[in-house]
Symmetry: C2
Subunit: 200 residues, 2 copies
């Protein structure tokens, strides 16, 4: 039986660079699978069921809520979004690590249901750099930028609810930190307990 994989929960404010980090992590590590969310919203052109999302009816989604089949879920306006437990657990049992890029509210729900997850918060290097990254997107009005910046600062205030904080001042270094976190977690006594007990 393969060793159970890790559930990696990655959060961070917009501008921290977590999207790029997650993309690179997946590219460089074939053992990392991305969790597929479920939603009741309509598929957009090109979206594939089971790849981009599991597209469910409202009835299906609510029945899964009733059966406690989500690691976390939220209702956003008229649609549900959630992380089905089954896909995650199946992959962990196969020995894959599962990566879940999620907002703080979702991460905190998961922490309650799955405390053995590895909770990583990605931080921008500084306030100034955060602001310049948000401005740098160049697609938003001054008011939007201020709102996004305010949201980011609010989000950052929750970093201490995570296990690890990775400061993304350099992508290569941040990725090396996360690789080290995964390797080190593989040596944590609580994770190797059964294996050691079986050897001695």
């Amino acid at each position: 039986m393969p060793k159970t994989g890790f559930l990696l929960i990655v959060s961070g404010p917009s501008g921290a660079g977590k999207g790029t980090i997650c993309k690179k992590l997946i590219e460089s590590n074939p053992k990392i699978k991305v969790s597929v969310s479920a939603t009741t919203r309509m598929p957009r052109v090109g979206e594939v069921d089971g790849t981009n999302y599991f597209f469910l009816s409202k009835g299906q989604f609510e029945s899964m809520i009733d059966q406690d089949e989500f690691l976390e879920y939220a209702r956003v306006y008229d649609n549900y979004y959630g992380t089905p437990q089954k896909y995650v657990i199946e992959n962990l049992k196969m020995g894959n690590d599962v990566l879940l890029e999620i907002d703080i509210a979702g991460a905190l729900q998961i922490k309650k249901k799955f405390p053995e997850g590895i909770f990583i918060f990605i931080l921008p290097p500084s306030m100034e750099e955060l602001k310049s990254r948000i401005v740098g997107r160049g697609t938003e009005s001054e008011a939007d930028i201020e709102r996004r910046f305010g949201c980011a600062i609010e989000e950052i205030s929750h970093f201490n609810k995570y296990d690890y904080a990775v400061i993304n001042d350099d992508l290569t270094r941040a990725l090396a930190d996360i690789d080290a976190i995964i390797k080190a977690e593989g040596c944590r006594v609580k994770r190797v307990y059964d294996e050691v007990k079986s050897r001695f």
Copy 2:
């Protein structure tokens, strides 16, 4: 002010290879300093005060005990052995990591006084390999080997009091694990809390 270093506490039974691991760690990482123990035993030929040990009189040692100046200490027959706190704390403040190779009783004393230490237990890959490593030294009688093997098994039973267990089936891999542990610990929220708070 440099970032405070880590106190690395390394234990493991005879035959686990912790001596080699510690030697390699120090060689490859100039930031790691080895803790210097204090003792009341006589210096042997070639031993240098402050390098191999701090050689103290019994009165000096007992006065340091009274002043709570040891991270841990023990009396072995007629002599004291201990880890003076001052040397460790000074180095940590300078930003060095301090490595302490110590038995389980000592490690558990330190855990009480310095819970922010990183406690790493080195394990041999299997019972068979442990026995063959102990036998392989070739210097001991059958009875000595049995006694050492029994001690090792007893020591291993305490591995779960540590933070990490590193299985030394391959020296390069074991060293990479410890490097990852050091790097990952540098990202733990409790260790970067002040730094993040100062940035945001």
